[in-house]
Amino acid sequence: MDAQNLTQWIFDTLTGLGLLCLAWMALASSQLIKAIVLFVAFGLLMALTWVRLDAVDIALAEVAIGAGLTGALLLAALAKLTAVQTATSKAAHRSPKDRAARKLYRMPAALLLLVAAGLAYSVLSLPLNSRGLSIEVGANLDASGVGNPVTAVLLNFRGYDTLLEIFVLFLALLGVWSLGSLPPHRIEPAGPVLNTLVVVLAPLLILLAAYFLWAGAHGPGGAFQAGATLGAAGVLLQLAGWKPGPGFARLPWKLILLAGPALFILFALFTLVTGQHLLEYAPERAGILILLLETGATFSIGLTLAALFFGERPDDAEGR
């Protein structure tokens, strides 16, 4: 093989091994903080891999959500974990369970290797090239109202998946809120450096979100990336010590929170009464409708993610 292929091959191998190693270290490391940091690193490497696989949209989503927000959530959880453990009177004694469990699961480990081998074999047995649905997508792209095939699939061809998935996010928030509130705990306030950083960064992120939202129509980007960056802004604000008051559980904010799902449902109902198929857009109007949907989705995703980072229901947090 020629040099370029060789370098590519080396690069791929190293990335693959890196992913596996990072994952293993993250899952095996003794301290939780280390585990989380390694996991975030893993996420970033994943993003790189996505780029390598010509999936820039996913790379953006991964950086913003997979690595970024998940990491933030994990770190926040860890901080709260220690805070709660000290807050609760019960002693948090370590148990030798990990070791015991490992012994217990020797057998499954062997069995799991078999499973992995079988999977690997079946993956290798797949045909080396297949067009999947790329042809169909390409053929209908013009009618979809957007230029970016991924956005077309997400918001038009398989818009129904996206509808349900936005409700999954909403459901997660409902679930978190229904779990009640944690005992009082305080996370270390951010230092002055971060504060200034926030002042600069938050507006930038919001601008970035707007850009992604707009770009999503023809290039990489879209509601999720935009929403995630918006959420990141919210996270930053909270890191800077800002707390949402009880008002954030009241109607106006709720409306913003529900902008995405609500718009989806309204469109769906509209198509229902006009006797079209569910979520069917006329090609000439599709572009604008999708942009509208994405805007709504962006707001709800951003706000929801920020709220998830905060944890309990704002008015509960006040109520204690």
Binding site: G118, L119, Y121, S122, V123, S125, L126, P127, S130, R131, G132, L133, E136, V137, N140, N156, F157, R158, G159, Y160, D161, L164, E165, F167, V168, F170, L171, A172, L174, G175, W177, S178, L179, G180, L251, K254, L255, L258, P261, A262, I265, A268, L269, L272, Q276, H277, L278, L279, E280, Y281
Partner: protein, 483 residues
């Protein structure tokens, strides 16, 4: 009017109405109760309308966004989905009515949106004809179910919810990987298209293994049932009812679809035998644990483990009579089990505990609740006249016809065990020693709801010919030509 009913896409209403209801319950918690009730009422009506449409025009598909498969997602409405949607609507209505009385106010506010989202997820799942869409629906169902399990916030509830969450996530992951393999080898996610394309190959083997394992885990097939009893026992009674009656069925429904339409017949035989064996194990283990259980809700939960074992007996038999029997079992078990959990809820509401040995005088204090439990029990143990009996009859017939009498044997043993644990409860409810601890009166509505469900499960035994006929819409199999 006729035209409207037979042309309007009721299946879409079934998905949108609960979603809309969930949003509005979240926005206006003050009037949540009425919003929820009306939502559920709407979905019941649309199921009826859908039934009329299906009976008149036969099964049909709805291309979402006007994009036909394989590019788009198509909803699929046939007899099988109608059956599941119907039972979801009925049980859903009962649970909604019941919950208005059961929950303390603060919990009730949090209950409504989650509950309606669960209903929406179930309806979406029973209508979906697309493997990846099914994955999203499964996740929605699972998360909603876990959130509801944790609702009461007790120590046991939280822990079992966590266990449940891991189980359901693992299940979906495994299912999704299977979907990935299927998609990449056959280039479509649509069940109907796959039905034509799928051929035997190593990829299909592993896909089948992954999907079956994941769904079996979500359905709590022995020995993957570990998460179910604690979750169903520690959740609030109406939630337990929903979990046992509907959520467990959802993943089983997906498995059934794949089995009957996607997986190539040549390849399923061996796995079918395995499923049958595990089913038998589930029957014995579940029955045993139910007998040993000292608390009512735990007993009912283990009874579910056992009934799940029954479901899987159909796979080795793999003949029309068996499928019809199992689907009828799904139906009657859903109603009966919901009734049982609601009855248990009444008892807990009344006496503040569910220790079976201390059920003295329940027979006099809550006669209707006990009647509900006993009638549901009749259906669970498969005695006539009840839906359970019809199901058992069909399955025993199938197994004797195909000369595999051992499955029939397992069925009979199972029903004996069921009788034992049902009457263990009933017997203690009749005893007359003086009641300890204070009791508070149960709203009549709650008692009636439980009784109504139980009566429906009995009624199923008398009108079997209609549901079985509807089941044939879409012609996956015919219960008449079974013999």
């Amino acid at each position: 009017m006729e035209v409207v009913i037979t042309t309007f896409p009721w299946e879409v209403v079934l998905i949108l109405a609960p979603l809309f209801g969930a949003l509005s319950c979240f926005l206006w918690p003050k009037s949540a109760r009425y919003l929820a009730l009306s939502t559920v009422f709407v979905s019941v009506l649309s199921v009826v309308a859908l039934a009329i449409r299906l009976i008149t025009t036969g099964s049909y598909r709805h291309a979402i966004g006007g994009w036909r498969a394989p590019l788009g997602i198509e909803l699929l409405a046939d007899g099988l989905s109608l059956l599941m949607l119907g039972v979801t609507a009925v049980v859903g209505l009962a649970i909604t009515v019941y919950s208005t009385g059961y929950f303390p106010n603060r919990q009730l506010l949090r209950f409504w949106p989650l509950w309606l989202l669960l209903l929406a997820a179930l309806n979406a799942l029973f209508l979906s004809g697309d493997l990846f869409n099914l994955y999203v629906a499964l996740e929605l169902t699972g998360l909603a179910a876990v959130a509801l399990t944790a609702l009461s916030g007790g120590r046991a509830a939280l822990i079992s919810a966590m266990r449940y969450l891991f189980a359901t996530l693992l299940g979906s992951m495994s299912y999704l990987l299977g979907v990935v393999l299927i998609y990449h080898s056959f280039g479509s996610l649509d069940i109907m298209i796959l039905a034509q394309r799928v051929v035997q190959s190593p990829v299909v083997w592993s896909a089948m293994g992954l999907m079956s394992a994941g769904l079996a885990l979500k359905t709590a097939l022995f020995p993957l049932h570990f998460w179910l009893p604690p979750a169903h026992a520690s959740a609030p009674a109406p939630v337990s009812a929903a979990l046992s009656a509907l959520v467990v069925k959802a993943s089983f429904y997906v498995l059934l679809r794949l089995w009957l339409e996607v997986f190539p017949p040549g390849q399923t035989a061996m796995l079918g035998e395995l499923f049958g064996a595990l089913g038998v194990a589930a029957i014995f283990w579940g029955g045993l644990q139910a007998l040993r259980a000292g608390q009512l809700k735990l007993l009912i939960a283990y009874s579910t483990v056992m009934q799940v074992g029954y479901f899987f007996l159909a796979f080795p038999l793999a003949m029309a009579a068996a499928w019809c029997g199992v689907l009828y079992l799904l139906l009657s078990h859903a109603l009966a089990k919901a009734a049982m959990f609601l009855a248990a809820g009444n008892i807990i509401y009344f006496s503040g505990h569910d220790r079976i040995v201390d059920f003295d005088r329940i027979a006099n204090q809550l006669p209707m609740t006990l009647a509900a439990f006993a009638l549901a029990g009749v259906s669970i143990m498969g005695l006539p006249p009840s839906g359970g009996f019809v199901a058992k009859w069909l399955m025993v017939e199938a197994s004797l016809k195909s000369g595999q009498w051992w499955w029939a044997f397992a069925l009979i043993i199972g029903s004996l065990a069921a009788a034992a644990y049902v009457f263990k409860v009933v017997g203690h409810a009749f005893t007359q020693t003086t009641v300890r601890g204070q009791t508070n009166a149960v709203p009549a509505l709650m008692e009636w709801t439980a009784l109504a469900l139980a009566l429906t499960s009995i009624l199923l035994g008398l009108v079997a010919s209609w549901p079985l006929a509807w089941l044939e819409i879409g012609g996956m199999f015919s219960c008449e030509s079974a013999r």
